[in-house]
Amino acid sequence: MDDQDIAPLKRTPLFAVHEAHGAKIVPFAGYDMPVQFAAGVLQEHLHTRAEAGLFDVSHMGQLRLRGEGAAKALETLVPGDIQGLAPGRMRYTQFTNEAGGILDDLMVTNAGNHLFLVINAACKEADITHMQENLPQHIGMEILDDAALIALQGPSAAAVLERHIPGVSAMKFMSSATMRVKGTDCIISRCGYTGEDGYEISVEAADAPALAKTLLAELEVMPIGLGARDSLRLEAGLCLYGHDIDETTTPVEADLLWSIGKRRRQDGGFPGDTVIRQQIAEGASRKRVGLRPEGRAPAREGTEITDDTGNRIGTITSGGFGPTVGGPVSMGYVTSEFAITGTSVNLMVRGKALPAQVVDLPFTPQRYFRG
């Protein structure tokens, strides 16, 4: 987590709600954010997998792209199939650079007459500049500065939200709809960053605290901080920008090929398409994999990965203790010959070689709602 001590920290519309729930506040991506609440990271994590957790992700960037051919225009910056998105459907993709590296990862929704984008907090200014400089003049951008984003995640999320917003439990995973909630329009998307079923709700800042309080008053719902958000996404095998993916990693190396549709693979037309299509055809020299260290010692970001003879074969990009797994879990890049499930490697933790195995991701089964 990045400390940004110099610039004054911003607060999300839910800051007072967090304080009222005993949040421990830390600086993150320019915001004062809750890292944990009274229950602690472990209980927050387990509760989200057992019932439901409420996350404030208002620090993320939300914006709309409007204009004729907005989907086609956005496709010049991302490898995802945006034109193929049916109204009300959403998709994960990345902004790529000319080398095929990842500038940011994002969610794109076809909201009917416009596209709705959610981008990472730490990248939002750069992403906005990137789009302003590279999208045609007639594509209008509306930045939703005054919107909060609340995630409700976990197996009870649908039942809880249905009580307040009838109809949401019938939504399909990776679908989105604008719904009227207590007199205000919300964008409700069935998606998340935990590996569980759940929703993200974009709501006007002024209405966000009341909605958060209403949901937190439900017995199943616990407030969840950034600490558990990180351990949940790690167990779910999901990438964290700036750690597991960045400008030096391509979507192929990051094992995100599933996010590049057939048409885009064939036709290209996005930054770095030459590199990415070549890697698709010939394979990349390294790949992101899951790693299970033996024993209990976590192997964290930056840990060197070596083979039996001590040669360096890669680096861990995210690692820690997986509360649901009940042991240490890591993700990292290894040279492709080692990126095979069951391969034994060593993790150099505090000068000692810790044996580990390459395993399939995710570490915990994804439990998305498929309808």
Binding site: V35, Q36, G40, V41, L42, Q43, H45, G227, A228, S231, R296, A297, P298, R300, G320, F321, P323, P328, R350
Partner: protein, 124 residues
Amino acid sequence: MSDIRFTEDHEWVRIEGDIATIGITEYAQEQLGDIVFVDLPDSGAALAQGDEAAVVESVKAASDVYAPITGEVEDVNETLEGEPGRVNEDAEGEGWFYTMTISDPAELDDLMDEKAYRAFLKKL
């Protein structure tokens, strides 16, 4: 009679004769949160005051634990290998880390007594 001392890094040192038992304080475990792994020193390891002696891993991060005094590691709390959460439950009792010999009793004078440590915590 045992004598307990504290460091500014939130370790406690309980002195019984010529052996010191070392652990982290209640305040430290509270700050660290859920502890998931403790990397203890080897028995027989020679430690100088200020050396990295152990590592505590919480869900959030890894933190070093320094040797509060100079001496040789005698015994380590093997229970923590399987049950690192003991440190959260009873940091200043069953969650002890290791015992060591006391090479230089004068080093103990640098450490805080309980009253001084409580005063130190209040200033944080």
